[in-house]
């Protein structure tokens, strides 16, 4: 079995199983923890609390007007590379084929973007990731709250992006090895995902919503 066969066959399937196991472990453990008993009287109705949750979810997803000068750049870079990553994964033709072949479904309606555009977006995404990395290392607060988890995730992401670009541009060696390296990077991401801060993909919106919901319930949402 060649390394490409291994990476896109047994290793990928193993990584998927670890991903499913790990994500469900983390989510179940978190959601079954329950909430601390609130002894104070709710200040608003349940519907109003829900609306408060939704408001906070929206507000926290946008730079606060008082800090916009300091945070807008960082948030723009963050949004930029996240949108780039999602575009590449969901609208790049080889990736769409990958998902269809992996899970055995056919979706002729699924749109794809031209390869050249995806390559351009990929290069842009890597540049934004670089800016985010430099900012993380250079910013005194960000540096203090960063640990191995953040940097290891970045290493995997860089490997994934760079091997993907090398595959498309035909540089760095034989196609099948670079493609295998790309798929192995993805497998590593799948395995690492549930046990890292990458779980923010699942937590970020529910936690923002719950924060807003709780505060609204206590009458502290405004």
């Amino acid at each position: 079995m060649s390394i490409l066969e291994f990476s896109r066959g047994p290793m990928l399937h193993f990584a998927l199983i670890v991903f499913v196991f790990g994500v469900l472990w983390r989510l179940t453990a978190t959601f079954l923890l329950g909430f601390r008993q609130r002894r104070s009287e709710p200040r608003v109705t349940k519907g109003q609390a829900m609306a408060g949750g939704a408001t906070v979810l929206g507000m926290r997803s946008w730079p606060h007007k008082e800090f916009i000068g300091r945070t807008a750049f960082g948030e723009a870079v963050g949004y930029g590379y996240h949108i780039g990553l999602f575009t590449i994964v969901l609208l790049g033709a080889p990736h769409v084929l990958f998902w269809q072949n992996l899970f055995g479904f056919s979706a002729p309606w699924w749109p794809t973007l031209p390869g050249g555009l995806i390559t351009f977006i990929s290069i842009l995404t890597v540049m934004l990731m670089l800016i985010a990395t430099i900012r993380r290392v250079g910013h005194p607060v960000l540096r203090r709250i960063s640990n191995f988890d953040d940097y290891f995730t970045l290493v995997i992401l860089y490997a994934l992006m760079l091997t993907g670009l090398m595959t498309v541009l035909g540089i760095g060696g034989r196609y099948e090895y670079i493609l295998a390296a790309h798929i192995i990077s993805f497998n590593a991401l799948l395995i690492w995902f549930p046990f890292s801060k990458l779980m923010h993909a699942f937590y970020i919106f529910p936690s923002r919503f719950l924060n807003g919901y709780m505060h609204a319930k206590k009458g502290a949402a405004k």
């Binding site: 896109r8 499913v20 196991f21 179940t28 079954l32 056919s106």
Partner: protein
């Protein structure tokens, strides 16, 4: 067909060309064709022509082993240089038991005579894989196993050209479960220069181009599978005229749908172009008339090692279908169970701490 003269007494190719009345312009055109085919820089044509003119006709011994004769069929369809030119102007084909008139002992005697007279200088072309199980008894000729014949013929060879995927990597005979223990020439011969020209069959122009370039400039630059980089340096995908459809995400979903009729990419129909290194997309087949992908079928990757065992020819090259649904469900159940246990433990600790605090 036998050549009784050692190579140093053979005329040079230039002399043969002059005798045949081949003009300078024609010869240069021929050399330009070969160098262009090998992607050599245009300025190297003059040096190539000079070296080729000075080279003496080599003795070539063509040994068939566990093969189907498809490679020879392909070679005889070469259009540049045409086989007759290759045979009579460029090389001295001293043994090929399919093409030569002699048979049986006479043919073997001719081979031995050519090997003796050109010891250390002849080019050995091997066609077909070598069966190794039961001491090579799966393949015998003239009372000797193919293994013995290869060992004997390789000893005095200046270089060995393994034509076809069988001679290069074992080919179809080596496909699982490989009942004869078939291997390629390079698996057995370690002390001679080996040039692999794989393919099922290999491209005729590649075979003849390799021979001619060997005469002019020796063993060409080879990749890790011992294939000449000039012909096997790019993937089919890189040179495919359908590549633009791949880049635009336009794929044929079946062999008779609208995409197929519009000439869209055959990636989804199992095309192995991205992982196959060969010159089909640039030189094409049958005198440049067409090639498999142009004819509407995906590349099957025949110039790659173990191509028979790389899954179905119509399975796409992307991820393997995730069939382990049961394992995924078990993993999901295990994840929920472990998560629930972790939450239960945490809540108990929480309660205990709350109790302690009270």
């Amino acid at each position: 067909m036998s050549n009784k003269n050692p190579r140093n007494q053979q005329p040079t190719i230039g002399e043969v060309m002059d005798q045949a009345g081949v003009g300078r312009r024609q010869f240069m055109k021929y050399c330009a064709g070969i160098t262009a085919m090998m992607a050599m820089p245009p300025l190297s044509t003059a040096a190539f022509a000079r070296d080729l003119r000075a080279a003496r006709r080599p003795s070539v011994i063509y040994m068939p082993f566990q093969e189907c004769t498809g490679c020879l069929e392909s070679l005889t369809r070469s259009f540049a240089p045409a086989l007759e030119n290759l045979m009579f102007n460029t090389i001295s084909l001293d043994y090929n038991h399919t093409l030569q008139a002699a048979a049986g002992e006479a043919a073997e005697a001719a081979r031995h005579a050519a090997m003796e007279e050109n010891f250390g200088e002849y080019v050995l072309i091997c066609d077909g894989s070598l069966p190794t199980k039961i001491n090579g008894a799966y393949g015998t000729s003239d009372g000797h196993t193919f293994l013995q014949q290869l060992e004997e013929a390789a000893e005095g060879a200046a270089a060995i050209v393994a034509v076809g995927s069988c001679a290069a990597f074992g080919g179809v005979a080596a496909a699982y479960p490989n009942p004869t223990g078939a291997v390629g020439v390079a698996d057995l011969v370690k002390d001679r220069p080996i040039i692999n020209v794989p393919g099922c069959p290999p491209m005729p122009e590649v075979m003849t181009g390799v021979l001619v370039s060997f005469l002019a400039s020796g063993v060409p630059a080879l990749d890790k599978h011992l294939r000449p980089k000039a012909f096997f340096g790019d993937t089919i995908h890189d040179r495919c005229y359908r590549r633009r459809f791949y880049d635009r995400g336009l794929f044929a979903k079946s062999f008779d749908d609208e995409g197929a009729r519009n000439g869209w990419c055959l990636y989804e129909l199992g095309c192995r172009g991205p992982t196959t290194y060969n010159a089909c997309a640039t030189i094409k087949w049958n005198g440049g008339a067409s090639w498999p992908v142009e004819a509407g079928h995906g590349c099957i990757g025949c110039s790659e090692p173990n191509f028979w065992d790389q899954g179905g020819f119509y399975e796409p090259l992307t991820a393997k279908l995730f069939k382990e649904r049961g394992q995924a469900a078990a993993a999901a159940a295990a994840g929920v169970a472990v998560g629930a246990a972790a939450a239960y433990g945490a809540r108990r600790r929480q309660k205990k701490l709350a109790g302690d605090a009270e």
